[in-house]
C-alpha cells in the first residue's frame, strides 16, 4: 500500500495551526462568525481524512 497516503493527516495540522488564515468575522454563516464555523467545518474534514486514510490502508 502507498504509504504516502499518511501525508494527508498533516492537513488538519497546517489548517488549524495557521491561525491568521481563519481569525476573521466575515463571512458569517447563519449569524456565526467565520472563525467559529470554519473550525467546526474542520472537525468534519479532519474526521473524513482520518476515515479515508483508514479505508485506504490495511484494515479488517
Amino acid at each position: 500500500m502507498n504509504r504516502w497516503i499518511y501525508v494527508l493527516l498533516l492537513f488538519p495540522f497546517i489548517a488549524m495551526l495557521w491561525v491568521p488564515t481563519y481569525s476573521a468575522v466575515a463571512p458569517t454563516l447563519g449569524g456565526i462568525p467565520f472563525f467559529f464555523w470554519y473550525q467546526f467545518l474542520w472537525v468534519i474534514i479532519s474526521g473524513l481524512i482520518t476515515a479515508f486514510v483508514y479505508r485506504m490502508t490495511p484494515h479488517d
Binding site: 493527516l9 491568521p20 456565526i32 467559529f36 479532519s46
Partner: protein, 509 residues
C-alpha cells in the same frame, strides 16, 4: 433553596448508573483477580464500547465546565479546545495502534511497562510512572469540582453529598474495575449528547438566534488579537501532543480488543469534538443571556446558571446529572490508571518483586481507593484554586514523557539516560515557567533576542527536553555508553495480535 424537581431527576439518574456500576462486574465476566481483567476490562472492548469509553474518558466534566467558562471569561482563546481536538486524532491514529500492538504482544498494561521493556531502564520507567501518577491526581480532584458546581446549581450546599457520590464511585470501581466506567459511559454520553443538542438548538432560539448571541459578545472577546495567535496555536498543539500521554487515555486505548478498534475509533471520536465545540459556544450564550459570574465559583458558574435560566427544572436536573455522571467516568478511569501504574511499576518493581497476580490485582484495587480518597480530601480541605493550578502543571509534566513514549514507538535512537536527563530538564523548566506566571496563565512570554513569542509552557518545555535528549544521545553514543537490551522487535509494533486467554496473557508478563 433546593430545586426538588431537578434534584429528583438527578438522583434517579445517579441511582441508575450506580446500579450499572456494580452490575458491570458481571459484564463479559473475567477473573477480576488479574490486573488486566480489573484494570483493562479484560482487553475485550469493541469499537462501540471503546468509542464511548474514550469519549467519556477524554471529554471530562471539568472540560464541560471549564471550556465554556474560559470562553465566557476570556473569549475566543478558550476555543483552542477545538483545534486541539481536531489535530489530536490524526496524530494518535498513527501513534496509538503501535502502542496497542507492542503492549498486547508483551503484556504491557501501562506506558511505563513499555518504556522499561523498550529501553531496559528502570529509572526511566519510574520517571514515566511517577509523572503519570503526579499528573493524574489533580485531574481526579478537578472532576469533583464539576460535581460540586452542579450540586450548588441545584441548591445543595455542604460537603456531604460530594462525599457520598465519591464513596459510591470508589465502591463500584473497586468491585468492577474498568468495566464500571465503560458501562456507565454508555449512559453518560447519551445524556450528554441529548443535553448539548437541546442546548444549542433551544437556547439560541430563546436568545433570538446566533446573530444576536455573537452581537452581544464584546469585540475583544469575539476574535483573537494577532498577538494571541501563537498562544492559540501552541495551546492546541501542546495539548494535542500531551493528551494521549495521560495514563487514563492509554488505559482506554489498551483496553480495546483489537488494533483495528483503535484505528477505527480515531476516525469516529471527532463526533465528540463537535460536541465540545458546541459546549464552548455555551460560554458566549451565557454572555448574551446576561449571566453574572458567581462569587464562589467565578466563571465556572456560567453554564449551570445558563441551564437554570433556560431549561425547565426537570431538564436542568437531567443536564446536571449529565455533568455529574460525566465526572464519575473519567475519575474512575483515572484512578484505575494511576493504580495500575503504582502497582505494576512501583509496588511490583521495587517492593514485591515476586508478588502473585492476585496480590497485584488486590493492591491495584486498594490503591484506586487511596487515590480517590486523596483527591476528595484535597478538594475538601485545600482551596479549589490549588487543584486547578496543579492540573495546569499536570499538562506541563505529562508532555515530558512524550519523547520516551511517542518517539520510542518509532525508534530507539534516543539514549535511555539522555531521555532521563531530558525529562528532568523539561520537568524543571516547565514548572519554572508555570510558577513564573503565578499560575495565572499557562502561556509563557518567551523572548529570544528581541523577538517575543508567547506560547504554551508545556510545548516550550518539551522542546527543551527533546534538544537535551538529542544532544546527550549524540554524546553518550560517542562515548559508547551501554544502551541496554530492547525486548521488543520491529515486527511487534505493526501487528494485529490475537487475544490470548486471560491466564496466558498474565503468564506472559
Amino acid at each position: 433553596m433546593i430545586n426538588w424537581t431537578a434534584l429528583s431527576v438527578f438522583i434517579i439518574l445517579f441511582l441508575l448508573v450506580t446500579v450499572m456500576g456494580f452490575l458491570a462486574a458481571r459484564w463479559r465476566r473475567g477473573d477480576l483477580g488479574l490486573l488486566n481483567e480489573w484494570g483493562l476490562g479484560g482487553q475485550r472492548f469493541g469499537t462501540l464500547v471503546t468509542w464511548f469509553l474514550l469519549g467519556g474518558d477524554l471529554y471530562t466534566a471539568y472540560t464541560f465546565i471549564a471550556v465554556p467558562a474560559l470562553v465566557y471569561g476570556s473569549g475566543a482563546i478558550g476555543f483552542y479546545a477545538l483545534p486541539y481536538t481536531i489535530i489530536v486524532y490524526p496524530f494518535v491514529f498513527v501513534l496509538m495502534p503501535r502502542l496497542w500492538s507492542v503492549a498486547r504482544k508483551h503484556g504491557y498494561i501501562t506506558p511505563a511497562d513499555f518504556v522499561r521493556g523498550r529501553y531496559d531502564s528502570h529509572p526511566l520507567a519510574l520517571a514515566v510512572a511517577a509523572t503519570g501518577i503526579l499528573a493524574t491526581m489533580p485531574y481526579i480532584a478537578l472532576q469533583l469540582v464539576g460535581i460540586e458546581v452542579v450540586l450548588a446549581a441545584m441548591g445543595i450546599a455542604g460537603d456531604l453529598p460530594l462525599v457520598i457520590a465519591f464513596v459510591i464511585l470508589a465502591a463500584y470501581t473497586y468491585f468492577s474495575g474498568l468495566r464500571a466506567p465503560a458501562m456507565i459511559a454508555l449512559v453518560k454520553d447519551s445524556i450528554i449528547y441529548i443535553t448539548v443538542l437541546v442546548a444549542v438548538i433551544a437556547i439560541p432560539v430563546h436568545l433570538g438566534g446566533f446573530g444576536h448571541i455573537f452581537a452581544a459578545v464584546p469585540k475583544p472577546k469575539l476574535l483573537l488579537s494577532p498577538a494571541a495567535f501563537p498562544a492559540y496555536a501552541t495551546l492546541a498543539l501542546g495539548s494535542a501532543l500531551a493528551l494521549f500521554m495521560y495514563p487514563h487515555s492509554i488505559t482506554g486505548v489498551l483496553s480495546s480488543q483489537r488494533r483495528d478498534v483503535v484505528r477505527r475509533n480515531m476516525a469516529l471520536l471527532p463526533a465528540y469534538s463537535f460536541l465540545l465545540g458546541a459546549i464552548a459556544l455555551l460560554g458566549y450564550m451565557a454572555i448574551a443571556a446576561g449571566i453574572q459570574p458567581s462569587r464562589t465559583y467565578g466563571a465556572q458558574w456560567a453554564v449551570p446558571a445558563l441551564f437554570n435560566m433556560m431549561f425547565p427544572s426537570w431538564f436542568a436536573g437531567f443536564a446536571f446529572a449529565a455533568i455529574a455522571i460525566g465526572a464519575l467516568v473519567p475519575a474512575s478511569i483515572m484512578s484505575i490508571a494511576a493504580a495500575n501504574l503504582f502497582t505494576r511499576n512501583i509496588y511490583r518493581e521495587y517492593f514485591r518483586k515476586n508478588c502473585t497476580d492476585a496480590e497485584e490485582s488486590a493492591t491495584a484495587k486498594l490503591v484506586s481507593l487511596v487515590v480517590k480518597a486523596g483527591a476528595l480530601l484535597f478538594i475538601l480541605f485545600a482551596p479549589t484554586q490549588y487543584a486547578i493550578n496543579l492540573q495546569l502543571l499536570g499538562g506541563v509534566w505529562i508532555i515530558q514523557t512524550l519523547p520516551a513514549i511517542a518517539i520510542g514507538l518509532y525508534t530507539r535512537w534516543l539514549h535511555r539516560y539522555a531521555l532521563l536527563i531530558g525529562w528532568a530538564v523539561g520537568m524543571a523548566l516547565g514548572t519554572y515557567m508555570a510558577l513564573s506566571q503565578g499560575f495565572k496563565s499557562s502561556i509563557y512570554p518567551l523572548a529570544i533576542g528581541g523577538f517575543k513569542l508567547p506560547g504554551y509552557a508545556a510545548l516550550y518545555a518539551v522542546i527543551a527536553n527533546l534538544i537535551v535528549a538529542a544532544v546527550l544521545t549524540w554524546i553518550f553514543r560517542a562515548a559508547n555508553m551501554a544502551a541496554g537490551q530492547d525486548e521488543t522487535s520491529a515486527a511487534d509494533y505493526g501487528a494485529e495480535v490475537p487475544a490470548t486467554p486471560a491466564g496466558g496473557l498474565a503468564a506472559a508478563i
